[in-house]
């Protein structure tokens, strides 16, 4: 029986990474995720597993260190919050274009600009629609509990290595800062040099017994660059087919459907409790992968319901994907708070009543 611990989401994530057998972390402090680097420095994994931990000079340097580590076939990651993740976008584009597996964590805070340190989900577009330049995607996972902050570390890396693509954990200040019970995974050994050579024959590990390996995203021949792009797109279609994940709660025969991810999905579960007391039947779809987006699952869950409310800590971003999912067959509305403010459950219920029931 594994020991149950009480931890912040950010701390659980750091522990999970060590236990996954991570090879390296490169990051730069920013609220509300600095506990990731602080926990790693406190745990000193270089003394135990041999994992590298480095406080870089900037987010720009950090993401390029991750790019390099991934190029070496290593399990490497970085974490930041919204403004820092904006700085990383070029590097994420390079990682995607070089077909490298890497894990990036964004514990979102309110923006735009320097904004606030309080929770937000306003980086949905940035995370799911590219962020950096060019036609690429990162797999985006949205944890809604401390346990998921822990579990999505291994899920993220496994998917990143399987598809040779960046994976992002898109959390927010609530999930990062709150403490909950968590069961950490068993410590796994880091892969040996030989195992990395076998798993990642493309990695820059020194050209012993093989031809030179080159990690690059540069291809000046347009036809070859188009072929590269088509290969990326085939991978993305594969990911969409195999890796779309969501949680459905009481969606069968519901009057209205809520769609929310991360911390907002937690608040929506309370909204469902409050609504039930008033005799309103609410269902909830919680996308776990924001890209690929669970469009089909939402379309199925929406059949027969009178309306959909997306609840987001932004001005209405995910709602665009929900509208596309139901193809205007069901009315879709949005409720959100901005700038680091978080709606209370009764506030969300009142919004639902105003937008759909008492309109």
């Amino acid at each position: 029986m594994e020991e149950v611990r009480l931890m912040k989401g950010n701390e659980a994530l750091a522990h999970a990474a060590i236990r996954y057998g991570a090879d390296g972390y490169f990051g730069y402090p920013i609220t509300p995720q600095s506990e990731v680097l602080e926990t790693l420095e406190d745990e000193m994994p270089w003394e135990t597993t041999g994992m590298v931990v480095l406080q870089a000079e900037s987010e720009v340097a950090a993401i390029n260190m991750v790019y390099a580590g991934a190029g070496c076939g290593k399990a490497v990651f970085t974490s930041s919050s919204s403004p820092g993740v904006s700085l990383m976008q070029e590097g994420i584009s390079y990682i995607a274009a070089s077909e490298l597996p890497a894990l990036i964590i964004n514990v979102m805070r309110g923006g735009p600009g320097l904004g606030t340190i309080h929770p937000s989900q306003a980086d949905y577009f940035q995370a799911c629609k590219g962020g950096g330049h060019g036609d690429y995607h990162a797999i985006v996972l949205a944890p809604s509990s401390v346990q998921e902050m822990c579990d999505f570390v291994s899920l993220g890396w496994d998917l990143a290595f399987k598809y040779r693509t960046p994976a992002m954990i898109l959390a927010d200040g609530i999930v990062g800062q709150m403490m909950e019970k968590v069961v950490l995974p068993e410590q796994r050994p880091r892969r040996t040099e030989e195992q990395i050579r076998q798993q990642c024959p493309w990695a820059t590990t020194g050209k012993k017994g093989r031809k030179q390996n080159i990690i690059t995203s540069l291809e000046l021949d347009d036809d070859r660059m188009e072929q590269n792009n088509l290969r990326f797109q085939r991978t993305y279609r594969e990911i969409e087919k195999n890796e779309t994940r969501c949680e459905l709660i009481n969606t069968d025969g519901c009057d209205y459907l809520l769609v929310a991810f991360g911390s907002m999905a937690r608040i929506c579960q309370k909204v469902m409790e409050l609504a039930a007391e008033k005799g309103i039947k609410l269902g909830l779809v919680r996308p776990i992968t924001l890209w690929p987006f669970p469009a089909q699952q939402i379309a199925d869950a929406a059949k027969g319901c009178k309306g959909i409310l997306t609840v987001e800590l932004d001005a209405g971003q995910m709602i665009e994907d929900v509208k596309l999912a139901v193809n205007c067959n069901v009315e879709v509305k949005h409720y959100g708070r901005l700038g680091g403010n978080v709606p209370t459950p009764d506030e969300v219920l009142a919004a639902l009543e105003n937008l759909f029931i008492n309109k």
Binding site: L6, T31, P32, I117, M179, E180, S263, V271, D346
Partner: protein
């Protein structure tokens, strides 16, 4: 069983760590727990608050609009959270520095003099444990033994010498609530 608690006061009063100790105590009793702080460097010296939920079942939202119990340790927090206590709920406040006491009559209001008790104990670090003792007297959400067990588990060995002081403060809190 489900208890939704807000603890609020000045940064530096031990608000967040009191919530943490309560959460750990819940963990010792195999309860589901959530600890959600107001966070960030601006809390230092400003106001700090933490929502703690203990439950026998899976906890939904860590963010609440109403609380079963509010523990408020300064005037600002009293002004902000008095109205957020559910009817029939409990409000505990420390009298130190309070110029406008709570007015609601549909909730149970308790006032304590924990700050004065810290002066008597000559230990200002004991403040939050005194408040916690007082809270547990009114609302036995967790057993005092679980609090001590939680402390032993979470404090590093080198700080275990602090446990008797904390235990004394906890009992002191129970006592002042009886007064």
């Amino acid at each position: 069983m489900k208890e939704e608690i807000i603890i609020a006061g000045f940064g530096g009063q031990g608000v967040l760590s009191m919530g943490k100790i309560l959460a750990y105590s819940g963990l010792m009793e195999d309860k589901e727990v959530t600890w959600m702080p107001s966070y960030g460097p601006e809390q230092r010296g400003g106001t700090a608050n933490v929502t703690v939920i203990l439950s026998d079942e899976r906890i939904s939202s860590p963010i609440l609009n109403a609380y079963d119990t509010a523990v408020v340790l300064n005037q600002q927090s009293l002004d902000r959270f008095e109205s957020k206590v559910k009817p029939g709920g409990v409000l505990i406040y420390d009298s130190y520095g309070i110029h406008t006491p709570p007015k609601r009559t549909d909730i149970k209001v308790y006032h304590i003099n924990a700050m004065e008790a810290t002066f008597e104990l000559k230990n200002n670090k004991a403040f939050n444990m005194i408040v916690l003792g007082a809270l547990l007297k009114v609302k036995p959400i967790v057993a005092v033994e679980s609090v001590l067990k939680g402390l032993k588990k979470t404090l590093p060995e080198r700080h275990h010498n602090l446990i008797p002081m904390n235990e004394e403060a906890l009992h002191r809190g129970v006592d002042i609530m009886e007064e």
